[in-house]
């Protein structure tokens, strides 16, 4: 009779629950970018909210001399395309003073910022990077990576250790758009880039959903995994199907059906693509694509250049992953003494002419960047720097230090992603599905106790009916417990349920009881 076979199954509900003994319902936490892993830190390369065009100065040592400045683009061809004239910009006769006034040119500084982690429909986590352009003065170090594009091709021998240049980093807003020069000027312009976003929304009322994004077209309303709406809703006022109103300004969506506070609500919609979603890069020198997906769940991988292999994202994130930009263009200075006045030439070269396609990259497991004195052979950075948890830019006490990586000296570090302690085991939702059994069913008709001869007597022979887990035979009577209500929370420390459990522990078996709080 006594078996010892607990055949446990996990999965969907059994087809015939009456033949099974339920134990629990479990739901593991779905890793979300804002929940577990995204110990995500962003470098700053300029003062926060730096609003102005940047005056970029570089010292040439020119004093009491007149020079002409000529910026040009060595762009007779850019990957087969002839730009609109190889432009040249001159500025003549600018004379520095004996007091050391610096020569300056104004360059736009539109910082590239990693803005967060974005989840794709396939559950990949990419890094959102705002579009922008960053310039950086740079002295090529002796340990410059010789595979870097500006050290190869026609620039080999031109850009050498010690060369002063301007590195340009850029993140354009769209790689795959269809924008052409003939596009009109209607808002928001033809070929503008949108992306689809799945947002986990919040319930603000029985019929109201709030969201944080900026939906252009609402495509789906998903309630607990099931579509409550599927279509293309763009009008904010027209009532369509279950949609009552989409208020973009106040960021709410009113619906015609009732919401449960425990519902999981997701909205899928399109929005302007104002940033670049980084999901990996191709190494132009090897043709190898290194995917990047920082979702730490199993099945999500990161290409690790050290091994030339895919590794589980969680393993890579334990080592930390640094996301950075490589230069997309370089401006090389030269001095032409054959002209009067002499001419300072700044000639730009585009990385596209060197077959580079991906300028945002990641590196796994490299040590945190070194901090070296700026006066040493480290490359210079005009934008200050910050390291994790500390912004040296705002600390004048260390004015001559700079940030760089010995692995990729010309990198523009953008952020670091690492796996902090994921949600604990306590994040697994466990619902106790056990049901007391062994006695008679809870819905049994107990009239039989009256009509069936000898029923009560027989029941007394069933240990689990009268005394243990069954509830049929209450032969021991009924007890009334009067308990001071002050023992209950918030005055006391007990809950009503806990009091019931305590009483249950002390009441003899077979005795029913009632608790009354007075």
């Amino acid at each position: 009779m006594a078996l010892d076979q607990l055949k446990l199954r996990f999965g969907p509900a059994p087809d015939d629950p009456s033949t099974a003994v339920g134990i629990a319902f479990l739901a593991s936490p779905a890793m979300r970018p804002d929940l577990s892993v995204s110990s995500f830190e962003t470098y700053r390369f300029a003062k926060e909210n730096y609003p102005q065009l940047r005056e970029y100065y570089w010292q040439t040592g020119v004093i009491d001399s007149a020079y002409a400045f000529k910026a040009s683009f060595d762009g007779s061809t850019v990957a087969g395309y002839a730009p609109q004239g190889a432009w040249e910009i001159y500025e003549e006769g600018y004379r520095t003073s004996t007091s050391g006034q610096l020569f300056g040119i104004a360059l736009d500084d539109h910082p590239i910022v990693t803005s967060g982690v974005q989840q794709t429909r396939a559950g990949s986590w990419g890094i959102s990077i705002t579009t922008g352009v960053v310039y950086r003065s740079y002295t090529v170090p002796t340990y410059e990576n010789t595979d870097m594009w500006f050290m190869t091709g026609c620039l080999s021998g031109v850009v050498i250790p010690g060369t002063q240049c301007i590195l340009v980093y850029t993140v354009p807003e769209a790689f795959y758009g269809t924008l052409g020069t003939s596009d009109g000027y209607t808002f928001p312009g033809q070929g503008y880039k949108v992306r689809t976003r799945l947002e986990s929304a919040h319930i603000a009322g029985p019929n109201r959903i709030t969201f944080s994004g900026n939906p252009l077209t609402l495509k789906r309303i998903v309630i607990n995994g099931a579509d409550a709406y599927s279509g293309t809703f763009t009008d904010s006022t027209a009532q369509t199907g279950p949609i009552k109103e989409l208020n973009r300004s106040l960021k709410w969506l009113d619906v015609r059906f009732s919401l449960n506070p425990n519902d999981l609500v997701e909205l899928e919609y399109t929005e302007y693509a104002q940033d670049y979603l980084y999901l990996g890069y191709t190494d132009a020198s090897t043709g190898v694509y290194y995917p990047f997906d920082c979702n730490p769940e199993f099945g999500h991988v990161i290409g690790d250049h050290r091994y030339g292999a895919l590794r589980s994202a969680s393993e890579c994130l334990l080592e930390q992953v640094t996301v950075y930009a490589i230069p997309s263009a370089v401006g090389v200075f030269s001095l032409d003494t054959t002209t009067t006045p002499n001419t300072i030439n700044l000639k730009f070269y585009s990385a596209f002419d060197f077959s580079e396609k991906h300028f945002i990259r990641h590196i796994v497991g490299e040590p945190i960047e070194d901090i070296v004195p700026r006066v040493s052979d480290g490359p210079t950075n005009t934008y200050g720097f910050a390291v994790f948890g500390r912004n040296y830019y705002d600390e004048p006490s260390v004015p001559h230090r700079d940030i760089f990586s010995t692995a990729v000296p010309s990198m523009l570090p953008l952020s670091r992603v690492l796996l902090k302690a994921p949600a604990s085991v306590g994040a697994v939702a466990v619902a106790d599905a056990r049901k007391r059994g062994g006695g008679v069913p809870e819905d049994a008709n107990l009239d039989v106790l009256v009509h069936e001869p000898g029923a009560l007597d027989e029941l007394r022979g069933y240990y689990d009916l009268g005394n243990w887990s069954g509830k049929m035979a209450q032969v021991g009577g009924v007890a009334l417990f009067k308990i001071d209500k002050n023992v209950l929370q918030p005055v006391g420390k007990f809950t009503e349920a806990s009091i019931m459990e305590i009483v249950k522990m002390v009441v003899p078996v077979g005795v029913d009881f009632t608790v009354e709080f007075i």
Partner: protein, 561 residues
């Protein structure tokens, strides 16, 4: 649990025994951290009812066999049996033995001795605790803190140090036997003793015991006793001559019963002089020890694991005991890529995920499915973590514990085409396609003009009160560029002004859009075109800038500084 070998029809019709767990903590699931940080499920021991059978979950089953004749003492199996935990089960002759916990000994006759100072004294039996003292008429004595107060005949003093009790000698009748003690023992007694109420008429005594099927019954009325017949229905007949409503003490053995008299022994009453082979099962672990739960299906024998960082993690579902082999019916197949398009010439890979769920949205583990991919041009598909196939081939695989299959697809050609992945799972099927872009399509020549137009709102204002706004176009690679025209469009009809470089002479004020022109011939101190503009923002606006096709990041919520 019943002592009857058969169950009445009426009880069966009620659904007895109903499926479920026995009590409280029985089979309760708890989660704990296992090896390597895995989140494993553990199930507590206990009993449960399924398939009309009382069944047990032992963490470490201990089994002991012994032969007993009538009454015997057996070394118990190793057991830390918790109060509400797994049961200790004794079986013999295909009969379940009843365990009871008899620690209450009512109306025990004590031997009183007269001592000095007018007191009487009695020693309590070994291993007992005095609960109360009373006379034959059920009148309960009061207690005192010292023998000095024993002046009243209805008081007693309990010396728990030497386990004795004192009363006033005057309160003790000459025989000294009509003052009794109610005791509790520190170990259960195999021989049951209880007080029952006389239900006979005084001549034909009749009392009913709490248990049925009792043997070696002795009835007591004070110090008078009578051996009674065995009883199968609990009714006992005597001739002690008590009145209806009086108390009678019964002592008896419960047929086929046992008590755990200590952690290391049990006492058994078989009710027969014929030797009975007993099998005793018990739990062999400490109360706090938890059993790591393993799954019967799928992957029988593996720990149930929920940490999503590991390959064997489950996502959601029910946990239950069943002898059924049901594995769930696929009802929904979901398929998604993580990109809208992929560039083959750049050796890009695209991630795809297939999810199989049932009608309730519960992911289905270990569901067989086939996956094929047809790329034009060709490429490779990798089902993580290992299975690889080339274009056109079919891979048979199974969903993981989360009901998912993860794939990476790598187009290998440099020309444009289409990537299609097809999935079939039992009666479900689906496919999804995305375009494979060639390099020329991804960045056509004109795309080099589609660089970045930077829009920066300054902290200062122009002489006309407009917020200063700078625009600068760049090529895709960030090189500053000249431009013959730069157009700004406002979604909310913000007002622009365009000034002549830094001179701030307003040359144009427009609403909703402005065209700023510049020249590369003599742009002053500026590399590229830096068009100084002014703007008065209308609400939270969207501004888009275009320069001969170059389109800006769209600036949202541009507010007044």
């Amino acid at each position: 649990m019943s002592k009857f070998s058969t169950q009445s029809d009426w009880l069966t019709k009620l659904g007895y025994p109903s499926p479920g767990v026995g009590d409280l903590e029985d089979l309760r699931l708890v989660l704990g951290v296992g090896s390597g940080g895995r989140w494993n499920a553990y199930v507590k021991p206990g009993w449960f009812y399924c398939d009309n059978i009382e069944q047990y979950n032992y963490i470490a089953l201990q089994e002991k066999t012994s032969t007993v004749t009538l009454i015997g003492t057996i070394d118990a199996p190793y057991s830390f049996r918790p109060a509400w935990g797994p049961v200790l089960v004794a079986e013999g002759d295909s009969t379940r033995y009843i365990e009871h916990h008899n620690c209450y000994l009512p109306v025990v006759v004590l031997s009183w001795s007269l001592i000095d100072n007018g007191l009487a004294k009695a020693f309590l039996p070994v291993d007992t605790i005095l609960l109360s003292v009373r006379g034959f008429g059920q009148d309960v004595y009061g207690t005192t803190s010292t023998t000095g107060y024993l002046t009243d005949g209805r008081l007693f003093f309990y010396d728990n140090t030497e386990s004795s009790v004192y009363i006033a000698a005057g309160g003790v009748p000459a025989s000294g036997i009509n003052v009794f003690a109610d005791l509790a023992t520190i170990k259960p007694n195999l021989r049951f003793r209880e007080s029952v109420v006389e239900e006979g008429d005084g001549t034909n005594g009749m009392v009913r015991a709490s248990y049925l099927d009792i043997k070696q019954v002795v009835a007591y009325r004070g110090s008078t006793s009578q051996v009674l017949d065995d009883s199968t229905d609990g009714w006992c007949y005597h001739s002690l001559g008590v009145e209806p409503g009086d108390w009678v003490v019964l002592e008896y053995y419960i047929n086929k019963s046992f008590v755990v008299s200590d952690h290391d022994e049990i006492q058994v009453y078989t009710g027969t002089d014929t030797p009975v082979d007993l099998v005793i099962h018990s739990e062999g672990t400490p109360p706090e020890y938890l059993q790591q739960s393993v799954q019967a299906y799928p992957d029988s024998g593996k720990p149930l694991q929920f940490n999503p960082l590991f390959s064997d993690s489950f996502r959601a579902g029910f946990f239950y005991h069943s002898n059924s082999t049901t594995i769930g019916t696929p009802d929904k197949l979901e398929f998604a890529y993580d990109k809208d398009e992929v560039v083959g010439a750049w050796h890009e890979t695209v991630k795809a995920v297939v999810t199989i769920t049932d009608k309730d949205g519960i992911p289905l583990p270990a569901i067989p499915l086939t996956i094929s991919h047809n790329q034009s041009p060709s490429g490779m598909l990798l089902i993580l973590p290992v299975a690889v196939s080339s274009t056109g081939s079919v891979l048979d695989t199974y969903t993981d514990n989360r009901g998912e299959v993860h794939m990476l697809v790598a187009p290998t050609a440099s020309t444009s085409g289409t990537l299609t992945i097809s999935v079939s799972c039992l009666e479900l099927a689906g496919s999804l396609s995305i375009p494979i872009l060639s390099e020329q399509q991804a960045i056509p020549a004109s795309r080099y003009l589609s660089g970045v137009v930077s829009l920066i709102q300054g902290p200062t204002k122009t002489s006309n009160g407009f917020s200063r706004l700078y625009c600068a176009p760049h090529y895709l690679d960030g090189i500053p560029r000249d431009s013959s025209s730069l157009v700004l469009e406002s979604e909310n009809t913000s007002t622009f002004e365009y000034t002549n470089n830094f001179a701030e002479d307003v040359i144009s004020v427009q609403t909703a859009s402005v065209v700023a022109t510049g020249s590369s011939a003599n742009p002053g101190r500026v590399v590229g075109l830096l068009a100084p503009l002014g703007i008065i923002v209308s609400g939270a606006d969207n501004i888009v800038a275009q320069a001969d096709g170059g389109q800006s990041p769209i600036v949202r919520a541009l507010e007044e500084v």
